[in-house]
Symmetry: C2
Subunit: 294 residues, 2 copies
């Protein structure tokens, strides 16, 4: 399979946007129309996800699926998680499984087998991984991803208020050390587009740091979460992009999929469609170069 970064770059170019739709459905927020017709919470989530994917398919390059919201419904939830990833692929969307896994050696290998192969049970185009265990914990993910044309996004700098305590703890900030690790692990894994299969998660509320990390990681695709409902705004984001509008995808979850006014909302599909359009427009106004080519 082609290099992950090349596939992602092509998809961003074709759709003319770096917007990524986050599929983190909360059962209590789902439209009554959907929950009323479903046999279980897990079945309602799948029905809802398929509708959102149908709406998003022509509009955005990728979806990000946060596994925690599926895991809480046990194996039935995990089954729906896998089916959601498969349906996104069928509809031509790339997928990021937001699992933030991280462990050593053989355990990390087992996780990589779960997500990064074409025949993995939860096969995704990329996953998010946690760097706390160091290089040894990341390498099995990176190697498997490179073999299979998949990608990883390493948590480098997250956007939550208390992240400084661990990630920026005086002396040389830990997130810059992790960035150096991402750079090393990504060497030799660049596609023709210049970006690597080893990317970085960089929160949208860290404007100044975004610029520093862009300079230190010129070849890493960034996954920027925390846009929309989490308080990040589009103005922090330009520094993540190159002059052709590549180099990052920007995720919005709740601000899109739960944009309608409560479970009783009538035209929830229209509300989701408009929220996608609005988010694309907002991104377009701040990021140079992202014009639809397809």
């Amino acid at each position: 399979m082609r290099n992950f970064a090349d596939r992602l770059a092509e998809s961003v170019r074709n759709k003319g946007t770096a917007l990524c739709v986050g599929l983190d459905p909360r059962y209590v927020l789902l439209p009554k129309e959907v929950t009323g017709a479903a046999e279980s919470a897990a079945a309602a989530m799948l029905a809802f996800n398929k509708e959102v994917i149908d709406i998003a398919a022509g509009e955005v390059p990728a979806v990000k699926v946060q596994v925690a919201f599926y895991e809480r419904y046990g194996w039935e939830g995990m089954k729906v998680f896998g089916e959601t990833l498969r349906y996104a692929r069928q509809r031509g969307l790339m997928s990021v499984a937001d699992v933030k896994r991280g462990d050593i050696g053989s355990t990390a290998e087992a996780y990589a087998e779960a997500y990064l192969r074409p025949d993995s049970p939860f096969s995704a185009d990329a996953i998010t991984v946690n760097p706390y265990l160091g290089e040894e914990g990341l390498r099995p993910f990176v190697e498997t991803a490179a073999e299979a044309g998949r990608g990883v996004f390493v948590l480098v700098r997250t956007s939550n208020p208390s992240s400084d305590y661990v990630q920026d703890s005086g002396g040389e900030p830990v997130y810059l050390r992790v960035a150096e690790l991402v750079r090393e692990l990504g060497e030799g894994k660049e596609g023709e587009c210049g970006y690597s299969a080893v990317g970085a998660v960089v929160g949208a509320t860290q404007g100044r740091e975004m610029k520093v990390l862009r300079e230190r990681l010129p070849n890493a695709f960034f996954l920027v979460p925390g846009y929309g409902a989490q308080g990040g705004t589009a103005k922090d984001i330009p520094a993540a992009f190159d002059k052709e509008g590549l180099g990052a995808i920007v995720n919005s979850s709740r601000g899109i999929i739960h944009s309608y006014e409560g479970p009783a909302a009538g035209d929830w599909r229209g509300s989701i469609r408009r929220a996608i359009e609005r988010s694309k427009e907002e991104l377009r106004s701040c990021v140079r170069g992202t014009r639809a080519s397809g």
Copy 2:
């Protein structure tokens, strides 16, 4: 439900050992007797786990179940993961779900619901959590655990060779900052035994640091992985314990559950039983105070 640390302390006292058996089964290593009779990889893992749990039930206080080895078999694997946790409980063993989850706010809450309630789909007595996202990422786990009489073990210092890069990066080491966070989060969550529901994962190969962390975290139960197959030896471990033999549980996985000689081994049950006995004896020789009281 009673405080997690009190339940764990009682269980360690009753069994007279702090040994924890790690259920991380590798399909290719399972006895042929088991795989030959099973319909699927997941079914073989469950059958094997039940046998190991039957052997371990009278011998040790707890099992640690590493989710990666189940996740790689998809939702069928996750179903077996949940059934393994349930069977351990039925047989009177405490369980640590080694999931190393970590995420912010509402996502961490969703993970906590997956693992830390009596009616959670993967209900365990404790889970391991990753601190990279800071206090905000830990608090939902800690609050839910305290409410439900469950525990969390925060990754503080892991035992793999490359862990220094992130965890001990010059200036004030990150693992000491994380330890301080564990201390703060654990305050007011101590049981009658003096230990808290908020514990710490501290690798067995970090002998000197074990002592420092014990001093800084007098009220945290330690989960010590990396004993046996991963190269940690019992001599690193005494510093984790108080003079009554409490304060830590010590996990061994492969060194016990795959101690028999290959899938064709005849008396694999006997080999597992003897490996448990041997590990208990080794721990007993280095840890004061752990004598069976039950």
